[in-house]
Amino acid sequence: MAVCIAVIAKENYPLYIRSIPAEQELKFHYTVHTSLDVVDEKVSAMGKALVDQRELYLGLLYPTEDYKVSLLSRLGIPCVKSMFPNQLHRYGYVTNSKVKFVMVVDSSNTALRDNEIRSMFRKLHNSYTDVMCNPFYNPGDRIHSRAFDNMVTSMMVQVC
């Protein structure tokens, strides 16, 4: 189940961040913030690699203490996963306008398949695109759209 979803602007400030349960909010803010370094590193690494098609989806991000990390790069470098109970996985995704999505997922119940994570990010991207095209939204503001909220809620609950 997705426990935290964050949308980070190009300049690395949050446009939208939501987590459940609410008490752990500060911890998730910190988690997402540290993930940004990893995202930047991956993006710049992709820039140097001579691949024809660079993926927007970055895969599982870096591991620290009680988080499990595995790198799923386009070149098929194998991932090393260590299984700890109550593992929190962090996934990243970058759009063409350098807006980053970070998702923290609790995999204690079911191991979420890569495809499911990708489809969640695709839904996020589509909703973000809709927010961008909303004439009442100024790029760079925090996202207040109720439609976006509802979509995120459905992702946080459904994956349980």
């Binding site: 024809d52 098609q53 961008m132 790029p139």
Partner: protein, 162 residues
């Protein structure tokens, strides 16, 4: 096919947008002209930002600046005007000239020199569109347009080096 009417609808709407920007007595004199152009360019900028999110279908394929400009010439022009630009020139120092010999907003106006002074009003929105899309994709630029003979026009994109 319903999709074929899209370009016509957009052209008609654009014509009215230009008229509205200069309507209500705003358009008199040089001041009014500049104000109108700024309004139109600003509109194009915001639209460009939204388009930059929607258009690139998938991967971060823009490894260099030139790829992004080519994307503008092919995909953006294709989505908005239903055709591609006819010519792209660059001096490899950050200046690009996109040439369109049959610019859709100008084809209905005249062929040749007639209405040359009015032409810039109909190009401002597109300048903003280009600038907005580039800005959203991470490239700051300044875009100007020039017409010598309708309906051919050139858009000059100058990339701002940090």
């Amino acid at each position: 096919m319903p999709a074929m009417a899209d370009e016509t609808l957009f052209q008609l709407l654009h014509t009215q947008v230009v008229a509205a920007a200069y309507g209500a007595g705003r358009g008199s004199g040089d001041e009014g002209l500049r104000a109108g152009l700024t309004v139109l360019e600003g509109m194009g900028f915001r639209v460009g930002q939204g388009l930059a999110e929607r258009l690139p279908q998938g991967a971060l394929a823009f490894r260099e600046e030139l790829d992004t400009i080519k994307f503008l010439c092919r995909d953006l022009w294709g989505a908005v005007f239903g055709k591609q630009t006819d010519n792209l020139r660059t001096n490899h120092q950050g200046t690009y000239i996109l040439q369109d010999n049959n610019f859709p907003f100008l084809t209905q106006m005249a062929w040749g020199q007639q209405y040359l002074e009015e032409a810039p009003k109909f190009l401002a929105f597109t300048c903003g569109l280009l600038r907005g899309t580039l800005s959203s994709l991470g490239i700051e630029s300044s875009v100007t347009a020039s017409v010598t003979s309708l309906p051919a026009c050139k858009f000059q994109v100058v990339i701002q080096k940090a």
